[in-house]
Each structure stands twice: as structure tokens, then as C-alpha cells.
Symmetry: C2
Subunit: 268 residues, 2 copies
Amino acid sequence: MSFIDKLTEAIDHNNSLLCIGLDPVLDKLPETYRQTKQPLLEFSRYIIDQTSEYVMAYKPNSAFFEAYGAPGIEQLKQTCDYIKDRYPDVLIILDAKRGDIGTSNEGYISYAFDYLGADAITLHPYLGKESIQPFLDISEKGSIILCRTSNPGAGELQDLPVEQVPLYQSIAKLVASSWNVNKNCMLVVGATFPEELSQVRQIVGDLPILVPGIGAQGGDLTATLQAGLADDKKGLVITVSRSVLYAENPGDEARKLRDAINAFRVTI
Amino acid sequence: MSFIDKLTEAIDHNNSLLCIGLDPVLDKLPETYRQTKQPLLEFSRYIIDQTSEYVMAYKPNSAFFEAYGAPGIEQLKQTCDYIKDRYPDVLIILDAKRGDIGTSNEGYISYAFDYLGADAITLHPYLGKESIQPFLDISEKGSIILCRTSNPGAGELQDLPVEQVPLYQSIAKLVASSWNVNKNCMLVVGATFPEELSQVRQIVGDLPILVPGIGAQGGDLTATLQAGLADDKKGLVITVSRSVLYAENPGDEARKLRDAINAFRVTI
């Protein structure tokens, strides 16, 4: 099945555009998890069990597991296995922000897709299409390209003018017109910049966009949906991490978010 | 000790600008290593023992170890430990091409510097200085920023004109003028593009540049040295992988390369 079809199925399954980022930081975990042998895994399982009805994807960020070396990677693998075994209708987006020359990218492909079994991976565009061709060639796996990121300093490079057009818009254009041959590309555009999200939406038609930055980073949900929904009221994957992970009741928080997103989708 | 001083010491120790990339691919390893329990580690140890007199750094590429999951990462860690124990005068450059928002970068810092004990890491510039500030703040560890990469399609984005100047030159300027406050920045410029290397050298003064692309990728050594050496006949780290790793005698190959580089350094 092509990635775009998998994405649509995942959205429809729980009627949700919500994705939860699994970014576990040891010091922030509740005491009961910190004392277990595999705290990142145990905590991730807890979040997954609480929220699986309300999401279309989980987005583990590799950095938070790599921080603990090989044992961290082992916990990431078991987290991915757990999602695939228990909740096969929910996608796994590996947030790894990789991007190397072609032969090295083969290694990252083995890591993300063969070893972890992820359905998609986030990628840096800087080395160009030729370098990430090995990802683009796998039509059933998503290539999610960084476009306009959510961090405060994103504009330093991403807004540089390329023939009067900001660089991030050039990248959006390239991805939509030339990289997305296999209908397996998405873009990352941060919720902290709704105006830029709106620009990207106009450039890329119905290409799906992964949107981090709601919650702890300060992005506004309504402004994001207004700026970013595609004509079919889909086309967005809204990803949140801290505001759900460390909520008193992560399931309630996820349900509220999903429902708030859906309420907006039916009113416009 | 600041990173720039560590770099100079490492160059002077073996009088070498040569760095060897540790990119072990299981299928390419000699039969004797493929049959061991930790083939990536055993092969890397062999290469290190054969070449340690002739190099100033090893550059393990994380992708080639991640390809084998947690056991691969464990072998990468043991490879780094081996270098630090046996050859403490040789630097470890982790080629990981990371780059995320600040909080995630903290995870990559734990991975590269705390867990693996690397001296430097390669980084994507796309999220801007603000995002990689956590790396830049560590003055004894090198931040090696991708500028003009060695792959054939590097120009698709990196040559986009920003006010008449290619993007990679804008990045070189930013790094030299604003990111390098702690004297711990380097740039990556591929040997496959000597003209571009020459442009970058003119922009950045004596900022050190990591140069992949000699050997299997087709870059020319003399053209690279001509274009890239700084005024003090240093300022370059010439990194090779496949042409040494799979040579009949890796030590001979490394010695020849170091000596060819040094012959050029004394004649100009």
C-alpha cells in the first residue's frame, strides 16, 4: 500500500489528525517509571495505552532514546514493536531528522524501516533530492521533509530569499513538484508560524504536512488548522508531545485535542 | 582545552591532515570479520590498529552502525572506547549529520559526547544557529556544519542564489562571522567541488574545513589541497573511507595518503 493511502487509513481509523510525540526525558518521568529497568519503554507504553484511541500516529524522537546509548535504542525498538503488535492501525513516524549522502542513507533506511519498522521518517532537505532518493524510492514509507521548522530561530536560513522567495517555499515547491513522484512525501511546518504554513499550503496543494509546535512550544491550534487544512479537511498531522506526555491524564488530554481538531474540521 | 587547540594538537601529533571514515558495511567485510560476533567492532579495530600512526582523526559514521540497531550502537561505542583508550591523541569525529530543535539536540549531545565520547559531530545548518546553540556552547567539542556536501546533487539546494550568492556561501559566512564564537566550528565542503572549496576558503579565513569525497567519490587530492589549505598549511581535515577500509593493506594506503598530502604542504 502506498504511504499516502496508509496515512488516509490511519486518519480515518480513529477519525483523528492527532499524532503524539514520544520524547521521554528520564528526569521528567513519574517516579514509578524512573525506577523501572526500562523507564523509556515503560513510560512510552503507558502513554500509548492511554491515548491509542485518539491518535493516527506516534512520533518517537530518536534523540531522546539515543541519549541513553544502545540500551536506549533497544527501548525505542521495543516501543515500536509494542505499537505494531497492539495498535497496528496507528502509524509510527520516526522523528530522526536524518540526511546524508546516498550510501549512508541506506544505513538510516535499515535503522528506520527494517530495524524499527517505522512507517515514515523526518529528513533534512539540504543535500538535495539525489541524496535522499533511496528514501523517496520506497513508496510505502513516508519521507517527511523539513520545510519551515517550529523553533524560534527557524528563519535564519529558511527565510533567506531565493529570487525574492524564502528558501522554505523553494523547498516546498521542489518537494511537491519533483520529489513526490511516489506520493510518499510530507513536509514539516511548525505551528508557531501559521502565516508560513498558509503559504506552504497554497504552494503544495493537498500534500500532507506534519505540524509540531502546538502546546509547549506555543503554537495556536485554531490558527494552525485555519492555515493548514487541505480542501478535504485532512492534509495535516498535528503532533504534540510534552503537553500530553506529562499531563495528569494523557488519555483525556489526547481526546480533548482530537475532538477540538475535529470540531474545527466540521465547522469550516 | 578548546576544540581548535585539540584539533591543532591532533594534526601536529602525527603530522597529518588525514582522517579515516569508519563506514563498515557487513557484506563488504573480509570473511574473517564477518564471522565474528561483533564484526563492525572487530573490523574497525583492525583498521584503527593499522592506520593510527598516520591519521589525526577517525570519523565513524553513525548510519553504518545504526543499520544494525542497538547491537550496532554498542559496537560503535566500543569502537570509540578503543580509540580513546589506545590512541588518545587521535580525535573522534562522529559523522551523524544531526540537527533538531534545541531540546532534542540535548539528546544528541548526550549520545555523541557523553555516551560515545566523540570530540566533534557533523550538523545540518537548516534549523539555524538558535537550534544548534546547545552544541555551539560546548567550546571543547567541535560543531562541524554541512556547507557544500560531496554528493552529485549537492547543488540543488546549496547553490540556490541568496541575493546573488549561493546558499552554501551564505552559510559559510554566517558560521565564520556569528556561529563560531567559541572557536569550535568547522565546515563540511566536498572534495568533489574544488572551485566551491576555494570560494569557501576565501570567505572563512583559517576556519578548519572537513573534506570528504577523495577516493571512491572521485575527488582529486591535489585540487583539494590547492583550493582548501589555509595560510598556515593546515585548516583541512581530509577524510577518506572506502579507499582505505577495503585496501589490501590499509596502513600502507593511509601512510601514502598522509605523505602525499604533506608533500604538497611543503612545496607550496
